[in-house]
């Protein structure tokens, strides 16, 4: 980074009439062995560009930053953009916390700049353009699944915007993520899939996994410590969990080649830093080869972790074989996993196709600390929530939310939005229930496979969770006594977002051939009535001699044979 900057300043001195904004690219892969024997790999690619997207001057000359995304940000005056595509559900209780949580399906949330006048129109256009860029069905985002959260989604970049009328949030829980979404995502990387960590991103392996999530985050960040000017940061992340049994053949032994069917041979030449981290906190449960002398410690998600670092910009990392294929082999089968402090479940209760009840359970596993969480749920209009039945209880007692923001739905226009600030007592389960009634849809509003059910997007729980590091007050391991008297430290709590399961709800589904049957039946009834009326009106009726009965006729035939007079 420093060298690049130096180089830039030199060229700047050469041609000092127009200053080229500086840009910088970093890539990173974190591998975390999970307690279940699965393995979690998380890629991050970060491009920072010292260009002012929010100024009056149009940004139009791109270097490392992808042009297609930059144009969208400029045209629609986007301040922050977060989009994720996820296949599979993150199992918090088995795997712990992910580095970047995301709900199943597609999620998009955008903060617009305050110069935008018609936010809804811009949002509509933006979703259409993004759906083109990422080959996804984001164009199905409309007013019926868009909400404006009032508290849950604050800007992640700099700038203290509080007017949530510039925020739009939507999820498409049904979206299926596949290769066609990965290819455009890879195209945004400066090195494409030609060099660096991105050579590992081969779709045949990535999609043969239990969990796959790819995301793009664009936000303004500080350019210098004084934060006088801003830079645009683009973070592309990809998280994948490989299953012990389907990908690992049941053996607790992982290597880069086994995971991605590729090994690393070089860093992306454009990257100022290119590193692979392996979480070795739980060593000596497993061994790592080749060993690396570089170790780093970091507090991640409230827990102090140790990582082995492979720096790909150093030739030494690749060894004599000129390729890096690290191997993790478990020695012991089971370890004890630290229980995640916060997790949640959600399900639909009730029977029949008329009414039902949504239950959301939020678990606080902290032994003695209570902490507040923000719960957001957006429910489609066709589940009519009875907000008066909303009950929140923990430990069998009523738990009154300190803040409720509820926006009722409008049929075919907007969904329900329910946001609550809840205090979770220590070591407890908080249950939020609300009853609903299923609406009848018009027959064109049903999806092509209505009996599959209708999805309700994940609820979002945002919380400041007390750190585990702060929790072990008893430990005086390597800390001086004077530093550990007050339980609060600088990493006392950390921000976390937990997504619940999406719901699949059956709606009363009509027989779709019914309209035609009804038409046929009505027409037949009308035709029968009309026919008899017509006959009555047009036919002439005459008195006719009743014809002799069958027995009489047969008798007459016999009589004729015998020559006897007829009856």
């Amino acid at each position: 980074m420093a060298i690049r900057r130096l180089k830039h300043t030199r060229t700047h001195a050469h041609a000092c009439m127009l200053q080229t904004p500086l840009d910088d690219f970093q890539e990173e892969l974190v591998i975390r062995p999970l307690h279940s024997g699965d393995i979690y790999a998380s890629f991050q690619f970060r491009t920072v560009w010292d260009a002012d997207f929010m100024g009056d001057q149009k940004v139009s000359h791109y270097r490392l930053f992808p042009k297609s995304l930059g144009q969208v940000i400029t045209k629609f005056s986007v301040r922050e953009l977060h989009i994720s595509f996820t296949q599979g559900y993150w199992r918090t209780m088995q795997w712990g916390q992910p580095y970047l949580p995301s709900p199943p399906g597609a999620e998009l949330w955008v903060w617009f700049q305050d110069t935008v006048t018609d936010v809804d129109g811009t949002w509509k256009e933006l979703t259409n353009v993004l759906s083109g860029i990422f080959c996804a069905s984001l164009n199905f985002i409309d007013s019926t699944n868009t909400v404006q959260p009032s508290a849950s989604f604050k800007p992640l970049g700099i700038g203290n915007v509080t007017d949530h009328s510039f925020l739009r949030y939507a999820t498409l829980p049904r979206e299926i993520v596949c290769t066609e979404n990965l290819t455009p995502w890879k195209k945004l990387l400066p090195c494409g899939s030609k060099a660096g960590l991105s050579v590992l991103l081969k779709s045949e392996k990535l999609f043969h996994s239990t969990f796959h999530s790819q995301a793009v985050h664009v936000r303004p960040v500080c350019q210098d410590p004084q934060c006088r000017t801003t830079s645009m940061e683009l973070r592309q992340t990809l998280n994948v969990v490989f299953d012990l049994h389907t990908s690992g053949q049941g053996k607790r032994e992982w290597s880069l080649f086994k995971m991605f069917s590729r090994t690393l041979t070089e860093a992306c030449p454009l990257a100022s830093s290119s590193k692979v981290y392996v979480d070795v906190t739980d060593n000596p449960q497993f061994e790592l080869s080749p060993a690396t002398p570089l170790l780093t410690q970091a507090v991640v998600l409230g827990d102090r972790r140790t990582y082995s670092v492979y720096d790909l910009t150093q030739q030494a990392s690749f060894g004599s074989s000129r390729s890096l294929n690290m191997l993790l082999r478990w020695k012991a089968a089971d370890g004890e996993m630290l229980r995640p402090l916060l997790h949640s479940e959600r399900y639909v209760a009730g029977y029949g196709l008329q009414a039902g009840e949504i239950h959301t359970l939020i678990y606080n596993h902290h032994p003695y600390r209570a902490f507040p969480v923000l719960l957001l749920s957006a429910v489609p209009w066709y589940l009519r929530l009875y907000i008066h039945t909303l009950t929140v209880s923990s430990k069998g007692k009523d738990n009154r939310p300190s803040y409720i923001h509820y926006q009722p739905s409008k049929d075919r226009e907007r969904p329900h939005l329910l946001e609550m600030l809840l205090q979770l007592p220590p070591n407890s389960v908080t249950e939020v229930t609300v009853e609903f009634e299923r609406a009848l849809l018009k027959w064109t509003e049903y999806t092509p496979d209505p009996n599959h059910g209708f999805y309700v997007g994940s609820s979002v729980i945002s919380a400041l969770v007390p750190s585990v590091v702060a929790m072990d007050t008893n430990s005086t391991l390597d800390r001086p006594l004077f530093s550990s008297f007050f339980p609060c430290k600088e990493e006392a709590s950390y921000f976390m977002r937990v997504y619940t399961e999406p719901l699949l709800v059956n709606l009363p589904t009509p027989d779709f051939s019914m309209p035609y049957n009804v038409i046929c039946l009505t027409c037949t009834v009308v035709a029968v009535g009309y026919g008899s009326l017509y006959n009555l009106l047009t036919r002439t009726f005459q008195v006719d001699e009743p014809s002799p009965g069958l027995a009489k006729r047969i008798a007459n035939v016999i009589r004729r044979f015998r020559g006897v007079p007829l009856l």
Binding site: T11, N535, L537, T540
Partner: protein, 572 residues
């Protein structure tokens, strides 16, 4: 028996009256309720537009300087003359050219200006005297003996809308007023054709409407090279770096655009909106492997293989997601150390001087060799390379002019055309472009709207909503925009009046409105309602209702015929 007859008559009457009710009430009711909505469209006016009669008017001012006119000729000046010329392009397209020439003598200031030592200076000072409006031409006639023009040059065309014409020898001109005009007029027409439009330009612009007679291959290629007229263009410069490990490229694209491209685009602003952007693509390869030519010690790309170069690169270029205007791509390819130098060879196997080529209606590619910067293998890779933008932009600017249709067609003999200066475009070149673009816009919009009208005529299922009708007809209610037909009529009228600027403006609006109408989503709402479904719904109702009516009608008819026969036989 009589009662039976009366009863039969009553039955017949009842059947007849039911049939009458069905025909008079039922059928119209059914027809009206199942009809697709059609808003009113100005079909007559569209049909009128289908027969396009364009009249292009140019104002020509002819100024005689001192010493060009005989005294008796001078008495007749000033005067005006109008020349008209009609050309029938095909059955429903007629073109009329109208030159309104104003003849006058030069005033003192103009005389002074014409006394400048060189033609270029005279041109500049004449321009400061009067700003001629867009689309007009001023021709200064100077005496045979004037030294303003170099030897052998009869006509000088400067940067503005003025031309200087040398009067022929006095003997050949003759003394008479009529002889003078007969001498001057063909030459002035020639000047006007260079400076505003010629018949070939206009027919080329009409190519959307008129199937061109299979002319020469070259003229066809010329007409297909430039982009179609559009209200906006996106210009994208891409720097292709096939191997960032071998070199790091730096280009000052911002500065280069500012100093080379922007002046031209500023001049072209009345024609269309331009937006420029640039990007650097890494690991972008060409589609073909260049062949190594050991005699040249270089890699070569043959003209035949150039067609395959673009496709793999294009996948990386990325379309502009934020607009739907056509994109002009300019690619700068810097081959890496192992594949350079790379030269492009033409069909005669000769290296192309600019080392660049263009693809019609797509853009241009230039290969920039930097192998001399690598040193002799000592310099550590990657090498930092600063690209010489002047060299690159010279090529791209020339390609851009080609793509935009700013053609410098060869001037007739005896003409001296001042080479374009800093702006890259003379005023009269802009006028030429505006003439042909206006005609092209009008032609495109009329074809769009007439084919749309035909389509609506042929397919009855298409719904015609009000907003759609708005973008076709007169006024767009929602956006306060003019509809296609009105803008077209206005554009044609302005062309007739010779107001080129307004004509272009209206023609652009016409194109926009016609596109809006053509792609109106409401047109598709009922388009695909299949007939078998309709019948499936109608048959259960219509069949049982209509069959008895039809049968009884047939029965009544046959009975009536029999009765007539009976009567006739009785008469006989």
């Amino acid at each position: 028996m009589a009662t039976a007859e009366v009863e039969r008559k009553r039955g017949q009457l009842a059947a007849l009256s039911i049939a009458v009710v069905v025909v008079l009430v039922g059928v119209p009711l059914w027809w009206r309720t199942t009809e697709t909505y059609r808003a009113w469209l100005p079909v007559n006016q569209i049909n009128e537009l289908a027969e396009l009669q364009l009249q292009l008017s140019v104002d020509v001012e002819v100024v005689f300087s001192r010493g060009t006119l005989m005294p008796e000729q001078q008495k007749k000046v000033p005067f005006t003359r109008t020349q008209e010329e009609a050309q029938k392009v095909d059955d429903d397209t007629t073109l009329r050219y109208r030159y309104e020439s104003k003849y006058r003598t030069a005033n003192i200031m103009e005389e002074d200006a014409l006394k400048q030592p060189t033609a270029a200076e005279a041109d500049l000072s004449l321009h400061t005297l009067s700003a001629s409006p867009c689309g007009s031409v001023v021709v200064y006639v100077i005496p045979e003996t004037s030294v303003l023009l170099p030897q052998g040059v009869d006509v000088y065309i400067g940067h503005r809308r003025t031309a200087v014409l040398r009067m022929g020898a006095p003997m050949s001109v003759g003394k008479n007023h009529k002889q003078l005009l007969a001498h001057l007029e063909p030459r002035i027409t020639q000047v006007v054709q260079v400076m505003s439009f010629s018949h070939t330009d206009i027919t080329a612009a009409l190519s959307d409407r008129v199937r061109l007679s299979p002319g020469s291959k070259e003229s066809l290629a010329d007409s297909m090279r430039s982009f179609k007229s559009s209200p906006g263009y996106e210009i994208t410069f891409s720097l292709l770096n096939p191997d960032p490990k071998s070199h790091r490229l730096d280009w000052d694209i911002e500065g280069a655009v500012h100093s080379y491209i922007q002046p031209l685009l500023t001049k072209l602003a009345p024609l269309a909106n331009f937006s420029i952007d640039s990007q650097i693509l890494y690991y972008a390869m060409l589609g073909v492997n260049p062949r190594f030519d050991s005699s040249l010690e270089a890699y070569t790309l043959n003209a035949d293989s150039l067609a395959h170069v673009i496709n793999p690169v294009e996948a990386r270029l990325g379309s502009n997601a934020a607009s739907s205007n056509p994109v002009l791509n300019f690619l700068l390819y810097v081959p890496d150390a192992h594949h350079s130098p790379l030269y492009i060879h033409d069909h005669q196997k000769q290296p192309v001087a600019s080392n660049a080529f263009h693809s019609p209606r797509w853009g241009g590619i230039m290969v920039y060799n930097v192998n001399d910067l690598y040193g002799r293998g000592e310099t550590p890779l990657p090498v930092n390379i600063n690209i010489n933008m002047e060299k690159v932009m010279g090529v791209f600017l020339a390609q851009l002019r080609l793509m935009l249709g700013v053609q410098s067609s060869p001037a007739p003999p005896g003409f001296l055309v001042e080479p374009c200066g800093g702006a890259g475009l003379a005023d009269w070149e802009l006028d030429r472009l505006m003439w042909s673009r206006t005609v092209e816009n009008v032609a495109t919009a009329t074809t769009t709207i007439t084919s749309l009208a035909q389509l609506l005529d042929q397919i009855g299922n298409i719904l015609c909503s009000l907003s759609f009708a708005g973008s076709v007809n007169l006024f767009h209610y929602i956006n306060n925009k003019l509809g296609t037909v009105t803008s077209l009529q206005l554009a044609v009228a302005e062309l007739e009046a010779g107001n080129l600027g307004f004509a272009l403006q209206y023609s652009k609006e016409a194109i926009l409105a016609s596109e809006r109408a053509f792609f109106d989503p409401s047109l598709l709402h009922l388009l695909y309602f299949p007939d078998d479904q309709k019948f499936a719904i109608y048959i259960p109702l219509f069949l049982p209702m209509c069959v008895p009516i039809l049968l009884s009608l047939i029965k009544i008819a046959s009975e009536a015929r029999q009765r007539r026969k009976l009567k006739q036989s009785k008469k006989d």
